[in-house]
């Protein structure tokens, strides 16, 4: 039994992280799942498996869906997200492209204009800058400019934001840039459930969707219910999820930072600060309703993102809360963001360039007018 527990440590810790935070019922559930991995009540899958299965199912259901990008086929995907798809669907529907983003992105958008449903993979969204004219001017604006006659049902997907040690040109977060553009939908999954539900919704959506994944989350396992594993499962676009309910402080965040916020929330709970964690899931449309409802409940806001602070996603969230819920605030709104620097390579500098759980905890205490704990926070 102990051996089984050890083997499933990743699963266990993820179970403790997610859901309602450690209480007795959860602990029992942990035992149940760790003993029978493939239990009837649910499963645990990685974000990679979630994405792969979502794309697989949508390609099976609709012959107009196809995948293209660098190394998506024979290489099985640079990050193995498209593993097995070439074998299953053949080279007409899983296409390896040359390293020419402007060209193949434009091709994808043209195919979508005609009526196909392309999934264009960018090996990372840094490379999408070479094709950004097509995302904005060819994809996002066309339905409007054509008076509603030509829609563009395309999904642009790939890893976004910082990985580990990949330095300045490979670490940028583009959520704020794409989130600004009317005509785009921008989705930011965190866990496996998000990845499955949002990917399926994105593929079925008749408009261009920018789907920002995170490389470091691909290998993380999350428990998922049978409902999530069903081929008909989708999540609504434009709706945030309350990951953890709380009463003292709202932390609004997305993608990998959701995990950090949940860990910080666990720590803060020990000090009697009850944190509500809002997982945005969608940058555009932005779920201002859920954000504001939460802040009106807790009266304190902390925004958290990995990207640069100036004109970032957090800036928009703070503006929304100050505009809509000013009279409910008991403290100024705050942001924890990536540092205002190009991403450095040295590990110590890199650590300083992105938010750490300590930063979240410190800001939370500050917003709650608590003295900063002189002891080093455990995380």
């Amino acid at each position: 039994m102990l051996a089984a527990f050890g083997k499933n440590r990743a699963l266990v810790s993820s179970l403790l992280r997610g859901g309602n935070g450690g209480d007795g019922a959860s602990a029992a559930a942990v035992w149940a799942v760790s003993k029978r991995f493939m239990s009837a009540s649910g499963d645990s899958i990685t974000v990679r498996e979630a994405l792969n299965s979502a794309i697989d199912e949508e390609m099976t259901a609709d012959s107009k869906v196809f995948v293209m990008g660098e190394e998506v086929g024979e290489y099985q995907g640079a990050y193995k997200v498209t593993k097995g798809l070439l074998q299953k669907f053949g080279p007409d529907r899983v296409l390896d492209t040359p390293i020419t983003e402007a060209g193949f992105t434009g091709l994808g958008v043209g195919a979508a204009m005609y009526g196909l449903k392309p999934i264009v993979e960018f090996m990372t969204f840094n490379f999408a800058m070479q094709a950004i004219d097509h995302l904005i001017n060819s994809a996002a604006k066309t339905n409007y400019m054509s008076g509603g006659t030509i829609n563009v049902p395309i999904v642009f997907r790939g890893p976004n934001g910082a990985a580990a040690g990949v330095a300045a040109q490979h670490s940028q977060c583009f959520a704020a840039w794409y989130g600004q553009v009317p005509g785009l939908k921008v989705l930011v999954p965190y866990d496996a459930e998000d990845a499955r539900g949002l990917m399926k919704a994105a593929i079925r959506d008749p408009d261009p969707v920018v789907f920002l994944e995170n490389e470091l989350l691909y290998g993380e396992s999350f428990p998922v219910s049978k409902e999530v594993l069903d081929p008909s499962f989708t999540l609504p676009i434009g709706k945030a999820k309350i990951m953890r309910e709380g009463s003292d402080l709202t932390i609004v965040t997305f993608s990998k930072m959701v995990g950090y916020a949940l860990k910080a929330a666990d720590e803060l709970a020990k000090e009697g600060i009850s944190v509500e964690v809002v997982n945005l899931r969608s940058i555009r449309p932005l779920d201002r309703e859920t954000i504001n409802a939460s802040v009106r409940k807790t009266s304190r806001l902390l925004c958290l993102e990995e990207g640069w602070p100036q004109h970032g996603v957090c800036a928009e969230i703070c503006a929304s809360v100050v505009e809509e819920s000013f009279y409910y605030l008991d403290a100024p709104v705050e942001r924890i963001c990536g540092a205002d620097v190009p991403m450095p390579y040295a590990a110590n500098l890199e650590r300083l360039a992105v938010p750490q759980i300590d930063d979240v905890i410190r800001a939370a205490r500050r917003i709650c007018f608590r003295k900063q704990d002189k002891r080093k926070a455990t995380a």
Binding site: G103, G106, G110, A111, M113, Y114, S138, M145, G147, T149
Partner: protein, 394 residues
Amino acid sequence: MALRQAWQKAGKVLNGGALVSPGSTFARALSTSSDPLTLEIPVPFKGHKVDPPSSTVETSAAELVDFFRTMFVMRRMEIAADSLYKSKFIRGFCHLYDGQEAVCVGMEAALNDKDCIITAYRDHCTHLGRGGTVLEVFAELMGRKDGCSLGKGGSMHMYNKKGGFYGGNGIVGAQTPLGAGLAFAQKYLKVDGVTLAMYGDGAANQGQLFEAMNISALWDLPVIYVCENNHYGMGTAEWRSAKSPEYYKRGDYVPGLKVDGMDCLAVKQAVKFAKEYSLKNGPMVLEMDTYRYHGHSMSDPGSTYRTRDEISGVRQERDPIERIRKLLLSHEFASVADLKAIEKEAKKEVEDALAKAKESPSPDAPELFSHIYRKSYGAEAYGADRKESTVKLP
């Protein structure tokens, strides 16, 4: 037998009321014969990695009359747009196509509704060729409700999806990979059609064009890259922007053809040839040697980088409408009076459309927020003052 068929066809057309001049005193009526007719194309094709098609082209009197009529309508439409712009009915950008009519008219003679066309911003006549109406072009230019894009696109953003016309694109060169994508979709869905991705000599140096050519050649996509070489990219002559202005050769491994773009029949022959090739083998480049009489746009007089003599010289020697006029007269398919009657009717069509377009109202204010998404999930959008104007998207 053939004569009876010709008369029957003429009769049908007569009942349609379009082609015969009512008060003609000449004995011979306007020919509407669809009997095949072969003509020689005077300027030879030049091939790159392909044997050019024959310079003997099949046409008919009816087709020539149709060429004349259509190009004349297009010419009148563009000239009317010039006046509209100067009287401030049209704002922003307006890029006129007069001089280049033979390209889009010749193309349409070789295409059908399974084919697609995508072009850049000099798109008014291309839109017409794909089945658009003069009314919806004028209304769109003036930003009115009855415009083909509901007044929300303007001069550079005219589309007709049902007619296989994908715009109307403002970013130089972007339409070329989009065109490769349309061809990809046609091949994927096994549609028996090709895509003509049009671009100018200015765009011919764009990197994404070569990326598109590479992928379309690798994947054997049925796309024909049509370079409308009017010899000036805005104010920059081709020899100042291209190391090699032989644009039909620029595809390298993609075969190409240089075509006299002022000759409808040469264009028709080239496109027919390219379509047959492309459906089987993948991309081809067609360089249309053409000319625009106006400047790049309405803010460009067009005479600072080229001489007035050059412009009037082309108009005299190579005008596409005059060429067809000469053909019709010399073969006695039409009399001078017949052609005058066609011109008069075309002018009237354009004037009527203009009058109607001027009556068309501006779009209603709520249209500001429509068509951002095909499916908006009730998301909110904001006007300049969000406390005043918050809209749940339709």
